[in-house]
Symmetry: C2
Subunit: 242 residues, 2 copies
Amino acid sequence: MPSLESYRKELDYSYAPGLFPCMEAVRKRPDAVRRVIVSSRLAEGSAKDGLMRLCEKQGIRVETADRALARLSGKENVFAAAVFEKRQGSLSSDEKHLVLHHPSDKGNLGTMLRTALGFGFRNIAVIRPAADWDDPHVIRASMGAMFSLEIAGYDDFSQYRQAYPAHALFPFMLTGALPPEEAARGLSGPYALILGNEGSGLPQEFASLGQAVRIPHSGDIDSLNLAIAAGIGMYVFSSLTS
Amino acid sequence: MPSLESYRKELDYSYAPGLFPCMEAVRKRPDAVRRVIVSSRLAEGSAKDGLMRLCEKQGIRVETADRALARLSGKENVFAAAVFEKRQGSLSSDEKHLVLHHPSDKGNLGTMLRTALGFGFRNIAVIRPAADWDDPHVIRASMGAMFSLEIAGYDDFSQYRQAYPAHALFPFMLTGALPPEEAARGLSGPYALILGNEGSGLPQEFASLGQAVRIPHSGDIDSLNLAIAAGIGMYVFSSLTS
């Protein structure tokens, strides 16, 4: 088996660092996991036993390789990592979507993926340029949530829209007309929440593509953090629609 | 004037790195700002002019010091920083509080402070041990929001409670009985939202101190990210109470 390289976007595989994200990879997408690397310092106990048993059941090879682990994760305190094959996700036409337009911060992206899974948004569209969602930092921040999600990348918003023309669109904008509760009221059928870049938000033309939403907040701050806005939006929409 | 040291918790001053946080310090707490440091690479223009004018008006000295700036901020792309005196905040008995019990992540803490200001929570209690809210990383993540907040530290929760015995308490817990909308309904008078540590949450005994709240989410994730949970909690409570 070839030796493992430090992560680069060009590779066709990536790493899920950390015991919990590694377990999620093995549990939720076993066919994609090429092997699992563990540290010799991983304490004997139920967590290790669970991982070993799961890998054995799935026919996944487990190697002890301290140096490779430290190199791949960039951290000394990572005790396990899964090596997994990347794939393009496939979104459902019938389910609600989260559309992320040019997200640039890896931590924010991972947090949004974890939150999306928590509120039943299993279909994620990412409009490029964007942070690489297969990057180990994103996977770690998502706590492995991405292994339970379908994530598909698009070169621009119109490419996404062509593929899913029927979704009701809700761009989140500082100039939005309605708070999320009013926008979500009475909504039935598939819909998409659209959130812009951390620094620049969504371009103004998105306002005319659907019903623009604004999360009310005081004028003491310029805007909410992107992951916070996405979290509130997904919470409100998922609790008011079925 | 003594030379500036790299930030340590023991210092009686800290740094607000970045143009926006620096402006917030000068605007909102001018008496606490000892001086402002700018980079020779700070482009001439309206942002620089605005900062210069504000400092002149407040009688705050501005120095150009590239090396000090890079050392203090740990980043090459920081073009301004305010040097400010720390102080213990003072909470109001009449206003709503956000109580953070052992928050440990600086980025999360800064994001929560920014969100708190956005939803009108201007009184923040932090129960130690906790991340240092005067740390430049926190200030940067808060986008300078902390200069508009009162932040007070306590050695344990009972010390906070003794000082503010009348606030209705809402601990956020995975075992909480009510969703935030139901807990907030009909609420009048001062209240406190209490959120626990990123990894361990709140100790179980908090359930009996007030009305425990749970933000509903699917069983596909263990818990929401702390800053996301705090954001949803503050959003719901502030929009349903006056």
